[in-house]
């Protein structure tokens, strides 16, 4: 009923290849954009931004980045935490070295730096794949965390080894630091997420994205039909690194404001983003959003439900949270191994025919 296709004819190649071919989907997409940009900024407070929306937006960028590498190009990476740290420390060094430059430039540059580091650690992927590549990227994770802990230059020789974001602005609006208004930090991250998602979507359906998918599906066959594996793999690492670096820079400068590398960018962060990608759906931009929303929102919802509504002790709720999130992950992977994105796809197929399936 909702997804009526009758009368929805495509007469050009462009119309046929668009991101949302069904009209209802397209309208929904515009409604989401209008609500996100036009309505939410007027209604949010500090709690909504700092506890729910910022982590969701930032993790979604990271998940898109990792999804390009793992979901589209098939190169397993466990170094996400380390690469996010590169983005964060790059952003810190840039922020402190060039205080007058706009935050947008800093975030983009830290993405660029991360892309280069990511390509460097992606070089082994030319020779090894699968689990062995996972181990190689794991080494990147540990090495980068060790490096940022070990070399005082990265944290400007502060006594504690912490980095703290000074106050910086974009066109006169404060974006980082404690005085940044909630709507400004929200919009800043939202713009980055929107642009990243658009770029990712358009890359993945173009020739670059097709070469990634060819490598993922069968690298030897891809090579025979003329896909350059080195170029495909290195671009995947670079693009993925760029997005992850952007998310790391935002994570540090806009969201947390002060970061300690081992605690914020440890191995558990790599796993968290990987879970987002797997639960959301490999090889799907929507899956990155769904996975990030699932893993960011669920613990908060469970906490609010347990502590504020039911009044249970905080430690019991924290333990239940682990159990329930874990059980749900197992449940989803059994019921739908291709993630939330596939569930959404199936639902859509069914809704197209509903209520007259025959």
């Amino acid at each position: 009923m909702f997804y009526r296709e009758a009368g929805d004819f495509k007469t050009s190649y462009q119309a046929d290849g668009q991101t949302f071919p069904i009209r209802f989907d397209r309208m929904r997409y515009y409604v989401v954009l209008v609500v996100a940009f036009g309505l939410i900024p007027f209604f949010i407070n500090d709690y909504w931004v700092n506890a729910i929306l910022l982590p969701f937006l930032i993790y979604a960028i990271a998940a898109i980045g990792l999804n390009i590498l793992v979901g589209y190009c098939g190169q397993v990476s466990l170094g996400t935490g380390g690469f996010m740290a590169v983005g964060a420390y790059g952003c810190y060094k840039l922020m402190t070295a060039f205080p007058e430059v706009s935050m947008i430039v800093h975030v983009l540059l830290s993405g660029g730096i991360t892309a280069m580091v990511c390509v460097l650690f992606g070089l082994p992927s030319l020779r090894i794949k699968g689990f062995y590549l996972a181990v190689a990227t794991l080494a990147a994770q540990f090495f980068l965390v060790w490096l940022f802990n070990r070399v005082p230059w990265f944290y400007n020789n502060s006594a504690s080894g912490q980095i703290s974001a000074p106050e910086r602005d974009v066109f006169g609006i404060v974006i980082t630091g404690p005085n940044a208004p909630a709507w400004a930090t929200y919009l800043f991250c939202l713009i980055f997420l929107t642009v990243c998602a658009l770029v990712a979507r358009n890359l993945t359906r173009g020739s670059v994205g097709r070469s990634w998918m060819a490598i993922r599906d069968m690298d030897i066959a891809a090579e025979i039909i003329g896909v350059n594996p080195m170029k495909a793999k290195m671009t995947a690492f670079a693009v993925s690194g760029f997005f992850i670096g952007v998310s790391g820079a935002l994570f540090f400068s806009v969201y947390l404001g002060a970061v300690e590398v081992g605690e914020a960018f440890g191995i558990q962060k790599s796993f968290l983003v990987l879970f987002m990608v797997i639960i959301g759906g490999l090889g799907s931009i929507f899956g990155a959003f769904a996975g990030a929303a699932f893993l960011v929102l669920l613990p908060v919802v469970l906490k609010v439900l347990g502590v504020d509504v039911l009044g249970w002790p905080t430690d019991i709720v924290a333990h239940f949270q682990l159990v329930i999130v874990g059980a749900l992950i197992v449940f989803f992977l059994i019921v739908e191994p291709h993630g939330l994105a596939q569930m959404w796809r199936v639902t859509k197929e069914k809704l197209r025919l509903w209520p007259f399936p025959h």
């Binding site: 500090d46 709690y47 703290s164 106050e167 404001g257 002790p313």
Partner: protein, 427 residues
């Protein structure tokens, strides 16, 4: 315009919410994760003292105290969530018991006007009230602790440490790195050799560090650990037969659960402290009567009198006394966070006050001022008796090396002030 109206409506709805006369003390606790062993007794003590004040005295100046507990798991992201969730409920003071969360909160509380008390942890240079208007770390900070350790060793060696080898086993995080600068200065001053041995989070794996200790044969080992790292380190030290009386920890590495795992071999282990230990104080009789026997104790209620329980209780006591001071200063019972800050800045803890609360000689005497948010920094030493399963104070609260520490505090805080464009207060 619409946005302004909206936010104005939002602010009024938030402000009118917590108007009920209750003083809100959020407790950012951690009862789960690798640091829960320390987080649970601290939080129990913190909660129980407020319950005691409510039950015995009918609140603070007639207004009941309300503790809102929020689980952080020692995780900075959850800490931020907890802070944002509780700050609009009328929070008067934050005590997150985590150096990582403290670093997050320092700019936030300053912008929101809520005081932050980091007792014996957090950013050491926050002791400089001229720069940090809303952050307090009385009665003692990490650098007092480091100096207290070295002073104790100086006492044992007739004032001469030259040529001695001291190893620092530390948690490889902002917390563990804090004392390094002070210890390096002190090593120059007293001529001992300092060796650094970092242990990564969470600290279950320390074989290589203790192998290094075995090879270097240091005269003393100093520890800056927390959570499971403490137990493991003490066990490893026992395994290599390192003499326990030469092994000395900071106050976060000196609780019952840290030493009990190593059994009799942990006998003689030492730790510095800024408050007294044991349950031999009149306040514990009240605690038994009004809280434990009434079934109101927080958690399982089995931590009363333990080192970290006492510390949580002491933190709550200092918060209550600051609230009382604020009530006297402003003449209102239902104080705000801004008044609480004034109360903390004017706080005086003397022997008579502590005795009146049933806690004679429970901590050092000190007073807070606009310039000095760190108190006097007096540090005592405790030692573990494995046979009787008790910690006891073997050296009373003594002065630490003010020359070295104050210079470092000024240096670090002025750097922070210039980084963040803060103009100095108290002129």
């Amino acid at each position: 315009m619409i946005r302004k109206l909206m936010s104005a409506a939002l602010v009024t709805s938030l402000v009118s919410g917590p108007a009920a006369a209750e003083l809100v003390f959020p407790d950012l606790s951690y009862r789960t994760g690798p640091y829960a062993a320390g987080g649970v007794p601290f939080s129990d003590g913190y909660n129980d003292y407020f319950t005691l004040v409510n039950e015995r005295d009918g609140g603070i100046g007639g207004v009941k105290a309300q503790v809102i507990e929020c689980e952080t798991g020692y995780n900075t992201e959850k800490g931020v969530e907890c802070y944002e969730a509780t700050k609009d409920k009328g929070a008067l003071i934050y005590q997150p018991l985590s150096t990582g969360i403290t670093y997050q909160l320092i700019p936030k509380v300053t912008a929101d006007g809520i005081p932050l008390h980091t007792m014996g942890y957090g950013r050491t240079s926050a002791a400089n009230g001229k720069v940090f208007s809303h952050v307090f770390n009385y009665p003692a900070n990490y650098w007092n602790g480091a100096s207290g350790v070295i002073n104790h060793l100086l006492d044992e060696n007739e004032g001469d440490l030259s040529g001695k080898k001291i190893s620092l086993v530390y948690h490889n995080s902002a917390y563990g790195k804090e004392p390094i600068r002070t210890l390096e200065e002190l090593s120059d001053k007293h001529g001992f050799e300092l060796k650094l041995l970092p242990v990564d989070h969470p600290g279950q794996e320390q074989k290589s560090q203790w192998l290094q200790v075995r090879r270097d044969r240091p005269d003393y080992v100093v520890m800056w650990g927390w959570g499971v790292m403490n137990q493991v380190a003490i066990q490893e030290a026992a395994n290599i037969r390192f003499p326990m009386e030469n092994f000395i920890g900071v106050w976060w590495s000196g609780a019952e659960h840290d030493v009990q795992a190593a059994g009799a071999k942990a006998n003689g282990y030492k730790a510095v402290t800024f408050h007294n230990v044991g349950d031999d104080f009149p306040v514990f009789d009240d605690m038994q009567k009004y809280v434990v026997d009434a079934g109101l104790a927080a958690g399982a209620g089995d931590n009363v009198g333990k080192v970290l329980y006492n510390r949580g209780m002491y933190a709550a006591m200092l918060a209550v006394e600051a609230a009382k001071t604020a009530q006297d200063m402003h003449g209102v019972a239902d104080i705000t966070a801004a008044m609480m800050r004034d109360g903390m800045e004017a706080l005086v803890i003397d022997e008579a006050k502590m005795a009146g609360l049933g806690m004679p000689n429970f901590g050092p005497t000190f007073n807070v001022s606009c310039e000095n948010h760190g108190g006097l920094g007096l540090v005592g030493v405790t030692q573990w008796d494995a046979e009787n399963q008790t910690w006891s104070l073997i050296s009373d609260f003594k002065e630490t090396d003010g020359d070295v520490i104050n210079a470092l505090i000024t240096e670090d805080s002025t750097a922070f002030a210039s980084e963040n464009n803060i103009s100095q207060r108290c002129e």
